[in-house]
Symmetry: C2
Subunit: 317 residues, 2 copies
């Protein structure tokens, strides 16, 4: 944790920018980094994959539940996971930040460090940003990435394809459920909520292996597979038995009187990847088959509508 | 104005996205537009100019002072002007929006229309975005642009260069001063505050003409020339007599008991361009010489420190 004293009011906008700039190393593709009207980055592939996410205090995070560094990691992960789901990898990013004048400088610096550290996982450079005053903390990030192979859309699933998953799901939702009831354990699920671990290598690997459709599991598995089914004009059936319910999820379910399968099928924000592949493809390491694509529409579990079929989280409702 | 009834709570996140998507036409460079995990755009030049801005209700705009369409125009203009100041032109953008559940759908649609209409001025495509719930309205936009010629930085001004300006300055500040005292006229300055008119052609033209440094006048002319002077390691002197004080600014000054020169020298948010050129260059149309670059540091007016030398607006202070 940063020890820098004072508040944003004391150092001002330009002081904050100076405090965080050293945290962001600039990669070889950066022609003009932070400090001018705009940044300039080279795009040797001649094509960018582009995603933006807005995180708002009280909606996406709470300062009493997550550290500033955790929130930085989550903001960067949410964006970079979207690029991952296209089969790409993040190369550069810009970050817009709003916060109150009485916010400790150390909090803002820790947020920046979390963003920088998550970006470092894939070698992405934060090349610029904007800083402004705001009552609630807002973090808006836009990531530019590139695809070495084909771009994988939501719309390419075909009847006969298998459905596969890479990465943890349900852990973040279990962590959220625990925190919402005032608990702090099991620690592993709380940590999973605070800091998701998207499988960044898995998107490009799936694209190279021939994935026909892919999506970032951010709303919940069934909801996100629903987006794939709709975009592709197909039906998707998930086998509930494909999932081994990890012990911490079982423990949370037992403690809270909930079926832990619900976390797995409907919990969002773990930023796992779900994809469809031709049935004959050998899945890349880390992927497991969880279902099949058929003619039709909608998503089922073991052939039936899921009892608590969720629409996924939707803002304003 | 849009007549669509209801609130965001009634149509939800996905309903809002469906309502605004038709407003955003997709240009030829867009390989994947809104609706997937990320957008994909082609970058034939192999280089992108990249800028982000965050506008927060109560800080950058007030709903009782500006229409939703005006705010959309301003959000897009602020970003695209930064690209303009590099000598570039915006090609594509992503928009993140946060607003309260009780916000009228029509307001959000009008905001989107303002963004779309401003982007249409330069042919930029809005290729994606994010929508979330937030107590205060926030609009965060990131623009990707390209430069046909050289990129013009803040750091290239050299002693002996002339300083030139393109576009209105002081009008937005005069409009803000009028609105802040509860008036709505002169209408032209109020309109100038609500909807700036950046000279989008002027940035690329200045780059082609050999501009050595350039900046978007968003903090105020003296403050922004100060950024150029610092980045370039030079002194800049502005001739006060170079400016013809437009009649509406004189009227506002007289009504409020202020020197209208103050609006011109320190008012921000008009998104004019200031640039330096070698002294022998013939300025492109629309540009006027306003001063000179010399050895030294800092910004002076007619050789002296400006009485009310401003540091420019700084958030948190």
């Amino acid at each position: 944790m940063t020890q820098q004293p004072g508040t944003l009011a004391e150092i001002g906008e330009f002081g904050l920018i100076e405090a965080i700039r050293p945290l962001f190393p600039q990669g070889a593709a950066v022609e003009v980094g932070p400090g001018d009207d705009a940044a300039v980055v080279s795009v040797p592939s001649g094509r960018v994959v582009l995603s933006t996410d807005l995180l708002v205090e009280g909606r996406h995070f709470r300062r009493d539940w997550s550290s500033a560094e955790d929130i930085g990691h989550r903001a960067a992960a949410a964006n970079m996971s979207d690029v991952n789901a296209m089969g790409g990898r993040a190369d550069s990013a810009v970050v817009a930040f709003g916060g109150p004048a009485d916010l400790p400088v150390a909090w803002a610096v820790d947020l920046a460090r979390g963003i920088a550290d998550e970006c470092a996982l894939v070698g992405a450079s934060v090349v610029g940003g904007d800083v402004t005053e705001s009552d609630a903390i807002v973090v808006s990030m836009t990531v530019l990435g590139s695809c070495a192979g084909p771009v994988v859309l939501r719309s390419g699933a075909r009847p006969g394809d298998m459905v596969a998953l890479c990465g943890r799901i349900g852990w973040s939702a279990a962590g959220w459920a625990v925190l919402g009831r005032g608990f702090r354990s099991p620690r592993v699920v709380v940590e999973a909520h605070r800091r998701p671990e998207p499988p960044y290598a898995a998107g490009p690997e799936a694209a190279a292996a021939g994935a026909t459709a892919m999506i970032d599991v951010s709303d919940g598995l069934l909801a996100d597979l629903g987006h794939v089914a709709t975009a592709s004009g197909v039906a998707i059936d998930v086998r509930a038995g494909a999932f081994e319910i990890a012990e911490p999820l079982q423990a949370v379910g037992a403690a809270l009187g909930l079926d832990p399968v619900q976390f797995v099928l409907t919990g969002g924000e773990d930023h796992a990847l779900a994809a469809t592949f031709p049935a004959e493809v050998e899945l890349p390491a880390g992927w497991m088959a969880i279902g099949a694509v058929a003619e039709g529409s909608g998503v089922t579990v073991d052939g039936s509508a899921y009892d608590e079929v969720p629409s996924g989280h939707q803002h304003f409702r």
